[in-house]
């Protein structure tokens, strides 16, 4: 799928899914999910080269790892709508006996997920490991990962960032969701992280910025550009500028909706801003 209108229709539907999932169980993380909708839609429909059926080893296909597991609603919606599992299963999000746990896990055997995430800061190491295995297996496919910006406060990331550059893991594209928000407020207020571009570059990465991570064309162009930078002896970092809560006006530009579900009225308002396109689950 590369027609922008098709991706736009899917993005609107995914936003509806996110709102309905978290509303139903009155829990979950809509803010970061909405902000990363265009990224996920683009990745799973126009960037990742994936096999038709899921298997854990993922040989001869691109791999994707979600490190900031709390934005599981967008992950689940996009996986389901890409055919990994029935869309109706989105109804079971965070319910007992569901494969759609609050944070993604391999434990319940959900197709599309290759590592548990939720406790932050671990995904980049895992992505590096799988990228090393691809090299050992002479598999030319790429490994992609997504991380929150606040998540970079976890020290393990910097161990991984140092390792990836030092070991020329150049089949890895790590994207940082720069929405500037975390649970307790703006990242600049909670713990300022300074110039991330300069930091990644100082660690030896190639860095590419996507100015508007909520614009499908920019994401598509940026991620294709990132792919073209691989194989040059350096890992690639994409700094993806997004707006938390994008597409639902009252959820935008605030950390308030990081981990809070809308009430009935708020749900209706949010849905009215995102009219049904592909059909609700």
């Amino acid at each position: 799928m590369s027609n922008i209108q098709e991706l736009e229709n899917l993005s609107v539907q995914v936003r509806r899914d996110i709102l309905r999932m978290v509303h139903k169980v009155n829990s979950g993380h809509p803010g970061g999910s909405l902000g990363c909708t265009e990224f996920f839609v683009t990745m799973f429909n126009s960037i990742l080269d994936m096999k038709d059926t899921f298997d854990m080893d993922g040989k001869d296909e691109d791999l994707f790892f979600l490190s900031n597991g709390h934005i599981s609603p967008v992950y689940y919606s996009v996986l389901a709508r890409a055919g990994y599992f029935p869309v109706e299963e989105l109804n079971t999000f965070r319910l007992i006996d569901s494969r759609l746990q609050g944070h993604p896990t391999t434990h319940e055997g959900l197709p599309g997920v290759r590592i548990a995430s939720g406790s932050l800061g671990q995904g980049m190491s895992v992505a590096i490991g799988s990228a090393l295995t691809k090299k050992l297996n002479n598999d030319n496919h790429l490994v992609f990962s997504l991380h929150g910006d606040g998540e970079l406060q976890e020290g393990q990331n910097w161990e991984a960032i140092m390792f990836a550059a030092g070991n020329k893991v150049d089949n890895l594209i790590a994207t940082i969701d720069l929405n500037g928000q975390q649970i307790d407020g703006a990242t600049d207020d909670v713990l300022p992280m300074g110039n991330l571009k300069a930091k990644f570059e100082a660690f030896g990465w190639m860095v590419l910025e996507i100015e508007n991570g909520n614009d499908l064309e920019s994401v598509l162009k940026g991620m294709n550009k990132a792919k073209s930078l691989t194989g040059n002896g350096q890992p690639v970092c994409v700094l993806l500028n997004t707006v938390m809560g994008h597409g639902v006006d009252f959820m935008m530009h605030t950390h308030a909706w990081h981990g809070k579900a809308p009430n009935d009225e708020q749900l209706e308002l949010g849905l009215s801003q995102n009219p049904e396109t592909l059909g609700d689950y």
Binding site: H107, I115, A116, Q122, S125, G129, T133, F163
Partner: protein, 317 residues
């Protein structure tokens, strides 16, 4: 009673190194990672022979555990190597989420466990690692007793699919088990048969238990010594069969009595056949600097301590 011959003192970590070297040549999926302790873990030969399959991660154990988890995706069998302290407590959440909960086929190989690490002192002498690791759902926990058994265990865990914690140590200790033994995960090894008391030992304490059994035999006490190399899953049948006969047990381990082998045995007994039990283990304490022998003596982790515990448990029968 059956006696065992010490074929010469050797360190268990060298058994791991020898096993890893053999795996390097026989199993192309085996890869190894080390956090700046290649010499201490005896991983140098693997590194030399298979540089493409060896990853030096530097002093960054959390990253090492995550990379190991990722390496399994695509079929590799990663063996991580560092001290027991840095293999467990330092990286517990990484092991918990990225390895255990994610069901990854990672072999966490931990040297310098317990007080026998010696002079470096308590910061490096973990006595809580068995407890930490056995509490993780799906984690297999192995603590081997000598060079030969450690080598055999290293080979065996590569054939088993699932996360494993393999614990071994630094000092040179008697090497008495068979060179070409088959290592069966989860299967206890009966070393000497006896009728008065069961001694269930793991790791460096197994040889001490055999020494204790010899002395006890001379004093007219017949001890049955069981080598529990796999603490989880525990060979409950072997323990229950033995205590049916002896009606009391002494557990012996180089670990805190809280969370160790002794507690696992106590759980099995209390559920199935409550009998008196004494614990040879550290008493909820940190270690300290000293020679391994001095520390084993001070913390009551040798043949003498086992004999004392046997006498106590016999009095409670």
């Amino acid at each position: 009673m059956k006696t065992y011959t010490n074929k010469g003192n050797k360190d268990t970590r060298s058994g791991f190194g020898a096993g890893l070297t053999e795996l390097g040549n026989n199993n192309s999926e085996v890869v190894a990672l080390c956090a700046d302790l290649t010499g201490s873990l005896k991983m140098d030969e693997f590194q030399k022979q298979h540089p493409q399959r060896f990853f030096q991660v530097g002093i960054a154990e959390a990253n090492m555990m995550g990379i190991a988890a990722g390496l399994t995706i695509g079929g590799k069998i990663p063996f991580t190597g560092t001290f027991a302290n840095f293999s467990t407590g330092r990286v517990y959440d990484q092991i918990r989420q990225s390895i255990a909960y994610s069901g990854k086929n990672v072999k966490i190989c931990a040297s310098h466990a317990g007080v026998t690490l010696g002079e470096d002192g308590a910061t490096h002498q973990i006595l809580e690692d068995i407890g930490l690791m056995k509490m993780l759902p799906g984690m297999t926990v192995i603590n081997t007793c000598d060079f030969n058994q450690t080598k055999a265990a290293t080979l065996a865990i590569a054939e088993y699919h699932g996360p494993v914690y393999l614990r071994f140590g630094r000092p040179k200790v008697p090497n008495f088990t068979e060179e070409d033994q088959t290592f069966e995960i989860g299967k206890a090894v009966m070393l000497t048969e006896g009728t008065d008391v069961t001694i269930v030992a793991t790791g460096h304490l197994v040889w001490e238990a055999l020494e204790a059994a010899k002395s006890l035999d001379q004093a007219g006490i017949s001890a049955e010594v069981i080598n529990i190399h796999t603490i989880k899953p525990l060979d409950e049948t072997a323990i229950l069969d033995s205590v049916k006969k002896t009606k009391c047990v002494v557990t012996a381990e180089e670990h805190n009595y809280l969370g160790g082998l002794g507690e696992s045995v106590a759980r099995v007994l209390s559920k199935n056949n409550p009998v008196p039990q004494e614990f040879v283990a550290t008493n909820d304490t940190f270690g300290e600097s000293g020679t391994p022998e001095q520390l084993m003596d001070k913390y009551g982790l040798n043949s003498k301590a086992i004999q004392k515990a046997v006498k106590q448990v016999l009095n409670r029968k």
